[in-house]
Symmetry: C4
Subunit: 319 residues, 4 copies
Amino acid sequence: MAIKKNSLVDKEKERQDLGFGTNVTSRQARIIKANGEFNVKKLGQSFSARVNVYNKLILMSWPKFFAYIMAFYLSINFIFASVYYFVGTENLKGITSENSLTAFGEAFFFSSQTLTTVGYGHVSPSGFLTSSIAAFEAMIGLLIFSIMTGLLYGRFSRPNPKVVFSENAVVAPYLNINGLMFRMVNEKNNQLINVEVSVIFSRNELDNGEIKRKYYNLELERKQVKFFAMAWTVVHPITESSILFNETAESLAEADAEILISLEGTDDTQADKVHTRRSYLYEEILWGHKFDNILSPVDNTYVIDLNKVGKTIKAELNS
Amino acid sequence: MAIKKNSLVDKEKERQDLGFGTNVTSRQARIIKANGEFNVKKLGQSFSARVNVYNKLILMSWPKFFAYIMAFYLSINFIFASVYYFVGTENLKGITSENSLTAFGEAFFFSSQTLTTVGYGHVSPSGFLTSSIAAFEAMIGLLIFSIMTGLLYGRFSRPNPKVVFSENAVVAPYLNINGLMFRMVNEKNNQLINVEVSVIFSRNELDNGEIKRKYYNLELERKQVKFFAMAWTVVHPITESSILFNETAESLAEADAEILISLEGTDDTQADKVHTRRSYLYEEILWGHKFDNILSPVDNTYVIDLNKVGKTIKAELNS
Amino acid sequence: MAIKKNSLVDKEKERQDLGFGTNVTSRQARIIKANGEFNVKKLGQSFSARVNVYNKLILMSWPKFFAYIMAFYLSINFIFASVYYFVGTENLKGITSENSLTAFGEAFFFSSQTLTTVGYGHVSPSGFLTSSIAAFEAMIGLLIFSIMTGLLYGRFSRPNPKVVFSENAVVAPYLNINGLMFRMVNEKNNQLINVEVSVIFSRNELDNGEIKRKYYNLELERKQVKFFAMAWTVVHPITESSILFNETAESLAEADAEILISLEGTDDTQADKVHTRRSYLYEEILWGHKFDNILSPVDNTYVIDLNKVGKTIKAELNS
Amino acid sequence: MAIKKNSLVDKEKERQDLGFGTNVTSRQARIIKANGEFNVKKLGQSFSARVNVYNKLILMSWPKFFAYIMAFYLSINFIFASVYYFVGTENLKGITSENSLTAFGEAFFFSSQTLTTVGYGHVSPSGFLTSSIAAFEAMIGLLIFSIMTGLLYGRFSRPNPKVVFSENAVVAPYLNINGLMFRMVNEKNNQLINVEVSVIFSRNELDNGEIKRKYYNLELERKQVKFFAMAWTVVHPITESSILFNETAESLAEADAEILISLEGTDDTQADKVHTRRSYLYEEILWGHKFDNILSPVDNTYVIDLNKVGKTIKAELNS
C-alpha cells in the first residue's frame, strides 16, 4: 500500500505547474498573450507592487519614456519656480522684470539652471531663504537626474534578445517518426551562448467529470545549444512515450491545446542573461509541413534569410 | 567495520547544517526572525564588518536614507564653509556682507554651489588658497555625489521580490496521503522565472540525553517552477520516508519545530537574481486545513485575489 | 520497431548542432573567423537589429569610439547653435559680435557650455524662447552625457578575458594512447575561476551521397578547472570511442575538419562572467608534437613564459 | 587492452589540475600566498594585460586610490592650464594678473572650474581657440569624471566577503573515525547564501624517480550550505578511501602538503556572487585538536564570538 501511495506521488511530481489552479479553464483565454505577458490580473496588490515604477519605466516605449521625462522636468521646475516666486523674485538678483508673469518665467528658468547645475549666474540667489532653496534644489537636481540618467542608460544597455520565431509550429516527419517543431533565429548580430529552451504543452482534460487544465513538459531532441549562431529548429520527437503520440490536429483543437516556450541564454557582449517567451495555440500548428531551408553559403560566408524563418513546405508524415 | 564507519559518514552527510552548533537550543528563539533576518548577534567583528556602510545604506528605509543624505550634504557644506571662513571671506569675491554670521552663510552657499557644480559665479574664489580649496571641493563634490546618486539608483533599481506567503502552513490531504503545504503569490506584475524553493525542517531531539537542534531537508512535490506567474502551493508529501510521518501538532509543539523556507528566482525585467526567506513556527501550522481556491477566470483573463493567499478551509486528513 | 525508432532518436540527440543546416557545406568558409566572430551574414534584419547601437559602441575600438563621441558632441552643438542663431543671437546676452560668422561661433560655444552644464554665464540666455531652448538643452545634455559616460565606463570596466591560445593544436602521446591537445594561458594577473571549456569537432561527411557538415562534442580529460592560474593543456583522449580514433592528418584535411573551442569562466575581480572562443582548422593541428614545458620555479615564485604557450617539440605517437 | 587504456584515462580524469605542471616543485613556494593571490609571475605579457588598469584601480587600497585621483586631477588641470597659458591668458577674460606665474595659476583654476563643470564665470574663455579648448575640456571633464566616479562607486559597492577562517586546520575525531576540519565565520551581518566550498589537497609524490606535485580533491561531509548564517566547520572525513588515510603530521611535512580552499556564494543584498580563497600549509594543521564551541544562546538571540573561530582544544583521535 505504501508503494501505491508513493507511485501516485511520483506521478504527480512529473506534472508541470505554472501556478494556475488545475480546476480553472477558459476556452477563450490563452495563458501567454501575444506580447509574451501572462494573461493574468491581480486583485489586492499593494500600491507599490501595482505601480512598480522601476519596471514600468524600464519597459515602456521610448516616446512615452521621453514624454515622462519632459513632464517631470517641467513639473519640478514649475514647483521650484512657484516657491521662488512666493518667497519673492526680488531675491533673485538679475531678474529685472516687473511684470509678474515674466518674473515667474525668469524664476522658472533660474530653477532649470539650478536643477541641471548649469548655473549661468546672470540670475543668482540672494538672501538666506532663497539661497537655501537654491542649494537644496541643486542637490535635488543631482539626485533626480541620477534616476533619470540611470533609467536612460539602463534602458539603452538592457540586453534585449531579438529572437524571431516561426509564425507556426509544425508537425513534420522526423527520422522515422514525426516531430513537433518550431524554428528560431537570433535576429541580432551579437552572440547568444548557452541557449536553453523549454517547452510546456497544456490542454484541457476530463478528470472525474470536470474539465481541468493540465501541463506537460515536452522532451526535446536538444534542449541546449552552446552557440545560437543562426537558425535553430527545436524538435520534440513524437515517440510512443510522448504525450502527443496519436494526437491529431482535431484532438488538439478539441482540447484547446497550447504550447508554451521559454528561452534563456547569455548575451555575449556583456555576459548578461536574457530571456524570452512565446506560445503557439493549436490553430498555429501546421500538420504535415516542414521548414524550408533558410541558410545558403555565398562566397566565403554563410547567409541566412530572416524572411524565411516561418516558411514551410508540405511533407508527408510518417505513420 | 570499515562499512560501519562509512555508513555513519553517509548518514551524517544527509543532515542539514545552517552553521548553528547542534548542541545549542533555545525554546524562545526562532532562527529566522519575522523580517527574514537571522536571529544572531556577532561579537568581535571588525569595525568595517560591523558597520557595513554600503549594505546599511542600500537596505535602510527611504525616509532614513534621505535624512542621511540631507545631513551629509549639510555637514560637508558646513565644513567647507568653515574653511572658507577661516581663510577669509574677503577671498570670496561677491560677498559684501560685513556681518560675520551672514558672511559665514554666504560662504556656506558658495560651498553648496561649488559642491553641486552649479557655480553661479556671483560669488567666486580669488587668491591661491581659496581657489585651490574651491577646485578641491568641486572635485570632492563630484565624487561624493557619485556615491549618493549611485546609492539612490541602486536602491531604486534593486530587484525586490514581493512574494506574499500564506500566514499559515497547513497539513492537508494530498492525493491518498497528507502533505505539508504553504502558498505563495508573486505580488508584482513582473515575472519571476526559474523559481526554486527549498524547505528545511528543524526541531529539538534528544541525543544521548542532551537536547540538540537538528535540521532536515524536506523533499518537495516540485522544487522548481519555470514561471511563477500566479499562486504556487508548495507541497511536502508526508510519505513513509518523510521525517514528518506520524508526527502530530502536539509532537511538533513539543519539539519546538520550525520550517525554514528559502526562495530564489530571476526577475525577468533585468534578469536579476532575487531571493527571499520565510519561516513558519509549529504554532503557525494548521492541521486538517487546505487552501481555498484563489484564481478565477473573468472574461478572457485569469484573476487572482491576493487577499485569499492564506485563506484555508477545513479538510479531513487521510489516515 | 518502437525500439528502433527510439534508438535513432537517441543517436540524434548526441549530435551537436550549431544552428547550421547540415546540408550546407563550403570548403572555403570556416565557421568561426580568426577574430572569434561567426562567419555569417543575415538578410532581412530589422533596422534596430542590424545597427544594434549599444553592442557596436561597446565593442568598437577605442579610437573609433572617441571619434564617434567627438563627432556627436560637435553635431549636437552645431544643431543647437543653429537654433540659437535662427532665433537670434541678440537673445544671448554677452555676445557682442556683429559678424554673423563669429556670432554663430559664440552661439556654438554657448551651446557647449550649456550642454556640459559648465555655464560660465559670460553669455546667458534672455527672452522666453531662447531661455526655453537653453533649459531644454541643459536637460538633454545631462541625458546625452549619461549615455556617453555610461558607455565609456561600460567599456572600461568590461571584463575582457585575455586568454592566449597555442597557435596550434597537437596530437601528442597521452598516457598509453594519444590525445588531441591545445594549451591556454590566462595572460592577465587577475584570476579566472570555475573555467569550463567545451570542444566541438566538425567535419564533412558523406550521407546518402550528399556532403553534410556534422558536429561532435569531444569528451575531455578535464572540462572544468577551479582556478585558471597558469597554463592549462586541454586534452581530448583519443580512446576507441573517440570520433578521432583511427583518423589521420590526411583524413582530417580531406573532411575539412575544424575544432571549435568555447571557454567560460568568472573573473574574480567583480565576479563577472567571461567568455571567449577559438577555432583550429585541420591545417593548424600538428601530429606527433607535444607542448614544451612553460613553467619554472624561480626563487620562491613560479614563473610562466607566455612566449612559449604554443611551443612544441616532436614526440612519437603511441600506436 | 582497450580496457586497460581506458582505465588509465579514467584514473587521470579524477586528478585535479591547477594549471601547474606536475613536474615542477619547489619546497619553499606555497601556491596560494597569504593574501589569497597565486604565487606566480608571468613573462611576456602584453602591456595592457600586465598593467590591467581597471583591476588595479578596483583592488588597490583606498588611500592609494585617492592619491591616484588627486594626482590625475592635478595633472589634467596642469596640462590644460599649460595649453591656455600657451595660447595666451589674455583670451581668458577676468584674468587680470600680469605676473606670468599667477596668470598660470589663474589658468589652472579656470581649467579646474571647466573640468568639473562648476564654471563660475568670473573667468571665461574668449576667442575661437580658447573657447574651443574650453568646450573640449568640459566634455573631457565629464568623461574623465565618469571613470573616476564609476570606479569610486564600483569600489564602494563591491561585494567583499569577510570570511574569517580558523588560523589552523585540525585533524580531529569525527564520528567513529577522524576528519580534517577547518572553521569559517561570515564576519559581516549580511547573508551569504548557497555557499559552496571546495578543498584541494596537494603534495609532492615520487613518480618514476622524479618528485612531482599532485593535486587531489578532498570529498567533504557537506560541500554546500543554503545559508552561511554563522560558523561552518568544514569536514573532510578521513575514510579508508581518503587520500589522507594513514597519513601523519610527519608524512605531510615530508611531502610539503598544502590544502587549498575556495569558497563561493551569493551576497544577499544585491544578489552578487562572491568568492574567496585560503590555504593551509602542513605546518598549520593541528593533529589531535578539535574546535571549541563558538556559539551560545543569550536571551532570545544566538551569540557568536568571532575571536574563538580558531580556538581549539585537545581531543584524542580515533585509531
